[in-house]
């Protein structure tokens, strides 16, 4: 799920950036440093939407660099265990399939795909029900439930399931 949160960060700035553009320089550097990163605690930082305030700078001993505490608002994406969300299938193999929900990768193992769906190999590998009415392949949209997350300092990886009520394919590009 996406969240709008306020975070704080100390920005170290070289003295050559000082002057009347100081604020712009701090904000530009903040965006470059922070957007697109992933922290285990907050999730993926998608976009900075605003600056709350920039505190007083503190000169670092010895270097001349100045650090400014910056409070900023941003949109983050963080998956939760038990959350139900929609994702796009990116790869299918006999172990299961990978899906992407925004920046997050989710793996659904073949044990967590309903038993009546069989793996079919070929140039477009897919999982199909015995009567062929439902098909999961690349670019299908599926609704899945996250049952586990692995959170590193710089990466979030999820395990999902579609073996539950109201989960599974919601839109099949081949059928449309």
């Amino acid at each position: 799920m996406f969240f709008h949160i306020v975070l704080e960060r100390n920005m170290q700035l070289h003295p050559r950036h000082f002057g009347r553009n100081l604020r712009d320089n701090i904000v530009a550097k903040l965006m470059k440093d922070v957007e697109g990163t992933c922290s285990g605690r907050h999730g993926f930082v998608v976009a900075i939407t605003g600056i709350e305030n920039i505190g007083k700078g503190l000169i670092r001993d010895g270097t001349g660099f100045v650090s400014f505490p910056v409070k900023y608002q941003c949109v983050v994406f963080r998956p939760f265990k038990g959350e139900i969300l929609e994702a796009v299938v990116t790869m299918v193999n006999k172990m299961g399939f990978f899906a992407e929900a925004g920046p997050v990768q989710i793996f659904v193992s073949n044990h967590l795909i309903p038993d009546d769906m069989e793996f079919q190999s070929g140039d477009m590998p897919n999982y199909t029900t015995s009567d062929g009415s439902v098909k999961i392949q690349k670019d299908s949209e599926v609704r899945l439930k996250i049952i586990g997350t692995r959170v590193d300092a710089t990466e979030i990886f999820c395990i999902g399931t579609i073996k539950d009520d109201f989960l599974g394919v919601i839109n099949d590009p081949a059928a449309a």
């Binding site: 799920m1 709008h4 697109g36 907050h42 998608v46 992407e100 925004g102 920046p103 009520d165």
Partner: protein, 126 residues
């Protein structure tokens, strides 16, 4: 679910995020010729994702959804999931958000059904 660790967090529906990201993307477009080069991969993927799964395209509808759902004493998290997934039946809604049925809250099937009806109306008249 998120309350314990993120005190100042506000949950966003996919529709809200789509508005925010598209606005930001437009700003970047004005600043440089080739905005795709400026944005991170995370931003690009998120933008594609929210565009693909946003149920309500126009900003007014996104606002209305929040307004209607907020009448039903839902937690922010529940409100968000319902707004994102737009379940059509009562059973589906309960399967998506089991907590709307528990905690001894005054949500019987009728109340939930009314809520889902209100939601589908917005979509119809969008």
């Amino acid at each position: 679910m998120s309350g314990e660790e993120e005190e100042n967090a506000a949950e966003l529906k996919i529709g809200d995020v789509a508005l925010i990201l598209e606005h930001k993307y437009e700003q970047l477009q004005q600043m440089s010729e080739d905005p795709l080069n400026q944005v991170s991969q995370v931003f690009e993927k998120s933008l594609q994702y929210v565009k693909r799964f946003s149920r309500y395209k126009n900003p007014d509808a996104v606002r209305q959804v929040r307004e209607i759902l907020s009448r039903y004493q839902l937690a922010e998290f529940e409100l968000c999931v319902l707004g994102n997934l737009c379940p059509e039946t009562v059973e589906e809604a309960i399967a998506m958000v089991p907590s709307i049925k528990t905690k001894g809250r005054a949500h019987d099937d009728e109340a939930i059904e009314k809520m889902l009806n209100d939601l589908s109306l917005i979509k119809k008249f969008e």
